[in-house]
């Protein structure tokens, strides 16, 4: 399968570069144009195409499609739920994570299944490969390398609200406009982005990439009159693995048995024993000294643009909570990479001081930096100007997703991208827009928070944001979303739908079978271990669909009552409700 994919990839690449660039385009009209090839853009393009819309994805550099610009990981507490939901709606990131993951763990295992956080460290190369190969083999989807100069707008359709209607885009090279019914902008940090390192500032959204042109920013602000704000973020230096003394750090092993993100996968590509470890180490008082000495050389930190409180640079952590030991995770960048990613050490001071700071940490005392850390400041569009379908209220057919809406994180971007793509596709196909409720999904919570409350700092998902957290579990995302995604939304393929339906029916069957078994509470306890049951002579279990809190217990599988044998697979997703 791998070989096939790679072959496909190479094949597509070659044909793509030769035939699908700039003016060679055969089409001049699409249903949906997606600008940007990050997590939001790729999900948007794939979703619109799944819906049946002729879709064009425009990106500055095809080779950076699906690039992980910052941390080499996916999922986590709250974010893992988003990945599962994107997967349940047939998005890409869950399967990409299963393909690229090199270290899987479920966070919060001791805290109740609603807040379990599926997470994986990723191989950057594999992730990119997967996403690119998926996109390039998606029917109705064309990928184009280019830079968008201008958004084309015209008079609005008078029957719908709005002051403008989007009609397409024009590329920088001045060629003919490319027309479309909807446009999804997923420009990430590239909207008037500037990079910061020490006292130097340069325009750009990611190091090594050319800055986006100012035209798009101008259209949004001046032509469409959208309110924009400015946010900042940062990334740590990448460290040469060989230069790190890992014996001075604490080894963090992955789960023995990796759990896939995707409901379609039964196992991950990476075998359990092939997984790579992470390492944990801590800052020292010396780190604080370097930060204090470098403040005057650090223009990113001196500015008062809002950065995230929960993913702060080491500078702001030290300045806000002085005298503390801060955690630093040393994460693998991939199976063949010679780099480590120091999670927790995002910094923007001059490179020589970055090196001095790193070397204050025992495990990094002779560390070498491959690429230094830097900060980014970028424009975002105040998301209260969007509808719950992620369309700009004032501009028919224009959708925004990802960091342009003031969020942070791959998962948040992917979730919005998928939903913006769905609605861009629906609009182009003359279907009414759709919204996800916050009572039914984390994606709904995310979008509702954005369009209803706006943002004051980069928005990240936490489980505490979901009022219906105990219901919005990572284990039931398929039951919550997949049937609806197929029947109502149209973004789910038949194959996935059939799988979800069979799981749903299997669960019901297992539940009924389980509830038909009456045993004495003593016998139940023999099978299930310490479980609170009423002391009736003969009792059936009170169960519900959840995640394997009790029945996933291996003891139970050994003693499983006969009528249940055939639905063992489903039994793993049933919980016995404790009696109080």
């Amino acid at each position: 399968m791998l070989a096939q994919k790679l072959h496909l990839l190479r094949h597509n690449f070659l044909s793509f570069v030769s035939s699908r660039t700039g003016s060679d385009l055969t089409r001049r009209q699409y249903d949906v144009i997606v600008v940007g090839g990050g997590h939001a853009g790729t999900e948007a393009a794939a979703a619109a195409a799944r819906l049946g819309a002729e879709t064009l994805l425009i990106t500055q550099k095809i080779t950076t499609i699906g690039a992980l610009s910052c941390n080499p990981s996916l999922g986590g507490v709250g974010k893992g739920q988003l990945v599962r939901e994107v997967d349940a709606l047939d998005g890409l990131c869950g399967r990409a994570g299963d393909w690229a993951g090199v270290h899987f763990s479920i966070l919060n295992r001791s805290k109740g299944p609603a807040v379990w956080g599926p997470r994986a460290q990723l191989d950057r190369e594999r992730y990119r490969q997967f996403i690119q190969s998926e996109l390039l083999s998606t029917p109705r989807l064309t990928v184009l390398e280019g830079s968008v100069d201008e958004l084309l707008v015209s008079q609005p359709n008078p029957e719908e609200p709005g002051h403008h209607r989007v009609t397409g885009i024009r590329l920088v090279d001045g060629s003919h406009p490319i027309l479309s019914s909807s446009v999804v902008l997923t420009t990430g940090t590239f909207l008037s982005g500037s990079l910061f390192m020490g006292q130097t500032t340069s325009p750009g959204g990611r190091i090594g990439d050319v800055p986006s042109c100012a035209g798009l920013s101008y259209t949004l602000k001046e032509t469409l009159g959208l309110r924009v704000g400015r946010l900042r973020t940062g990334t740590p230096p990448r460290i040469v693995k060989e230069s790190v003394d890992l014996s001075l750090a604490q080894l963090q092993a992955p789960d023995k048995q990796p759990t896939p993100f995707s409901f379609l996968n039964t196992h991950t590509r990476c075998k359990p024993e092939e997984q790579l470890p992470c390492y944990l180490t801590h800052t020292t008082p010396g780190v604080e000294t370097v930060v204090r000495e470098s403040v005057h050389l650090n223009c990113h930190i001196q500015q008062d643009t809002k950065g995230p409180r929960y993913c702060p640079s080491i500078e702001s952590r030290v300045l806000r909570f002085p005298g503390r030991r801060h955690q630093v995770w040393l994460e693998p960048e991939g199976l063949t990479s010679d780099l480590l990613y120091p999670q927790g050490l995002s910094m923007t001071m001059p490179p020589d001081l970055q090196l001095r700071l790193l070397r204050e940490i025992p495990a990094l005392h002779r560390a070498e930096i491959r690429t230094p850390g830097y900060g980014v400041q970028y424009d975002f569009v105040c998301p209260t100007q969007l509808t719950p379908s992620l369309q700009v209220k004032s501009t028919q057919g224009l959708f925004l997703a990802g960091q342009i809406n003031g969020t942070t994180g791959y998962e948040e971007a992917a979730a919005q991208g998928l939903w913006a793509g769905v609605n861009a596709g629906r609009t182009a196909l003359s279907l009414p827009p759709m919204a996800l409720s916050r009572t039914q999904s984390y994606i709904g919570v995310l979008i509702d928070d954005l369009v209803g409350r706006g943002v004051t700092e980069p928005y990240r998902m936490f489980t505490s944001r979901a009022e219906f957290r105990t219901y919005l579990r990572p284990d039931n995302a398929d039951l919550r979303l997949t049937p609806r995604g197929f029947e109502e939304v149209g973004c789910v393929t038949l194959r996935r739908y059939e799988k979800a339906v069979s799981v749903r029916d299997g669960l019901q069957e297992a539940l009924m079978a389980l509830q038909s078994v009456a045993l004495s509470s003593t016998r139940w306890r023999e099978k299930l271990g310490n479980i609170s049951l009423s002391e009736n002579k003969s009792t059936t279990l009170k169960c519900s669909i959840g995640s394997g809190l009790w029945l996933g217990h291996s003891d139970f599988q050994r003693h499983v009552p006969k009528p249940l044998l055939h639905c063992l697979g489903c039994v793993l997703r049933i919980v016995v409700l404790p009696c109080h």
Binding site: V77, G78, L107, R317
Partner: protein, 483 residues
């Protein structure tokens, strides 16, 4: 709290209806300054805020003089509603009031206020908390001195502060549990955080429960003490009611069984509100109407805060030594059998014996009986009284007043009391939810957190909603989160 920006300007007569010396018309909203300029002929600057100015008040269209009166200007946010406001203090005749209200209504963008709208705007602007709003409502409706004191105290925000404090502590508990759920895997959040939450939750539970065990004093003061007059037929119950309310509210006659239904009247006793009910005399009767009256009487006695058991003194045993036992026996026929939890002591706190028709008993026998009753234990206080001559009324009123006062509590001392059944219900649900926290604490932290969330939601029904952002603010203030 998000300020709701009401574009409309509202007005209303804020003083009472009917003929009076001065009436106050209040205006609130962005057009208030325009209203003031147009109606009070102020072409230049507005008067300095909160200063009364005597002006000719004219119709803005016809320029006809409507009245001469005081006008006041309150610049937002320094006003009751937090918006720009104005007041017209005009003469209180109905014609003047109507003319001024009509003139106001003729202005563009100005409309009559809906009931409670000024207060609602004050609430939205964060000028008043929910408990303060309720206190304000109570103050406006306060009929007795003690009710006024309690309402004023609540409006001052004292009850609100107590609930706010609980709310704040509960928010912190939730924030710490949430921090533990969302961040403990990656961050330095120790297990100790949860142990602190455990003890905070326990303490909160205990405090709220103590507050709930106030015997409904505050609610009683707000809605009136239920005092029920009960006893055998022809003991003089209706006469007692008439004597207490100083008017012939109930029909009295020498015929046993005159009162068949419940007669209610409200009284102010020493500043405390009392809802006095007269009931049918308790006896077995073949008359179905009277039987229903007796059933209602018994039901009323069961719900009473205080029962006045009226006994015909002439029916007492002539030997004073036998009186205590007789009364004991009599009480057991009138009062519902005490529930096992309520001790005898509690029952005697809720009963007063009224020995009526004292004028028909020889003075010497009465004194000896009183002496006997003072010696005996286990009986509620007894007062000799003659509704006919009013002898003993003074002493009886003193005893009654002190009883009522105990039942309501002193609104000015100690912790503020619960004043509304609504608050009680939410606080009880809050405590229930906190119990859920402990039940699930070790099994499923997400379900345990749900308990704290639920408790906070119920408290929020009293103090105002708590959003996820507030919880996150506490998390980021208390912990260094970040990777």
């Amino acid at each position: 709290m998000i300020a709701v920006c009401d574009a409309e300007t509202i007005f209303a007569l804020s003083s009472g209806h009917g003929r009076c010396g001065v009436a106050v018309v209040r205006v609130s909203g962005p057009a208030s300054s325009m209203v003031l300029r147009n109606m009070a002929g102020l072409t230049q600057a507005l008067p300095s805020p909160r200063t009364a100015l005597l002006r000719r008040i004219t119709d803005p269209q016809s320029k006809e003089l409507l009245d001469r009166g005081l006008v006041l200007w309150f610049q937002g946010p320094h006003s009751f509603t937090g918006e720009d406001s104005a007041e017209f203090h005009i003469h209180g005749g109905p014609a003047v009031i109507t003319a001024v209200l009509q003139a106001l209504g003729s202005l563009e963008g100005v409309r009559p206020a809906e009931a409670g709208e000024f207060t609602r705007r004050a609430f939205h602007a964060g000028k008043l908390g929910l408990t303060e709003v309720e206190g304000l409502g109570d103050l406006i409706h306060a009929e007795t001195e003690a009710q006024r004191r309690q309402a004023l105290r609540q409006m001052d925000g004292e009850l609100g502060r107590l609930y706010q404090d609980w709310g704040y502590r509960l928010k912190r508990c939730l924030a710490h549990v949430e921090a533990f759920i969302d961040f403990s895997e990656d961050e330095l959040i120790e297990d100790g955080v949860l142990n602190q939450v455990d003890s905070s939750v326990r303490q909160l539970e205990a405090e709220i429960e103590r507050h709930l065990k106030d015997e409904r004093r505050g609610e009683r003061l707000r809605s009136g003490v239920q005092v029920v007059i009960a006893g055998a037929t022809n003991a003089g119950k209706s006469s007692l009611l008439n004597t207490l309310c100083q008017r012939p509210a109930a029909i009295v006659s020498p015929i046993a069984g005159t009162t068949r239904d419940i007669v209610e009247t409200s009284l102010d006793i020493g500043g405390f509100p009392v809802l006095l009910s007269d009931t049918a005399g308790l006896r077995d009767s073949s008359d179905s109407v009277e039987r229903e009256g007796v059933r209602r009487a018994r039901q009323r006695v069961e719900q009473a805060d205080l029962t006045l058991v009226v006994v015909d003194s002439t029916q007492l045993p002539p030997d004073p030594q036998l009186v205590p036992a007789f009364l004991q026996e009599h009480l057991s026929t009138v009062l519902p059998s005490p529930s096992p939890e309520a001790g005898m002591e509690a029952a005697s706190d809720r009963v007063l014996l009224v020995l009526n028709k004292s004028d028909l008993v020889p003075e010497e026998q009465r004194e000896r009986t009183e002496g006997e009753l003072r010696e005996s234990t286990g009986l509620p206080p007894a007062c000799f009284l003659s509704c006919y001559t009013s002898t003993g009324l003074e002493d009886f009123l003193t005893v009654l007043q002190s009883r009522v006062k105990t039942l309501c509590g002193d609104p000015l001392s100690g912790a503020p009391s619960l004043t509304q059944a609504r608050h009680r219900a939410h606080l009880q649900q809050s405590v229930q939810a906190l119990i859920q926290y402990h039940q699930y604490r070790d099994q499923d932290l997400a379900l345990a957190a749900e308990g704290v969330r639920l408790a906070l939601t119920h408290l929020g029904r009293i103090t105002g909603r708590v959003g996820a952002e507030e919880i996150l603010d506490i998390i980021f203030r208390d912990f260094c989160i970040g990777k």
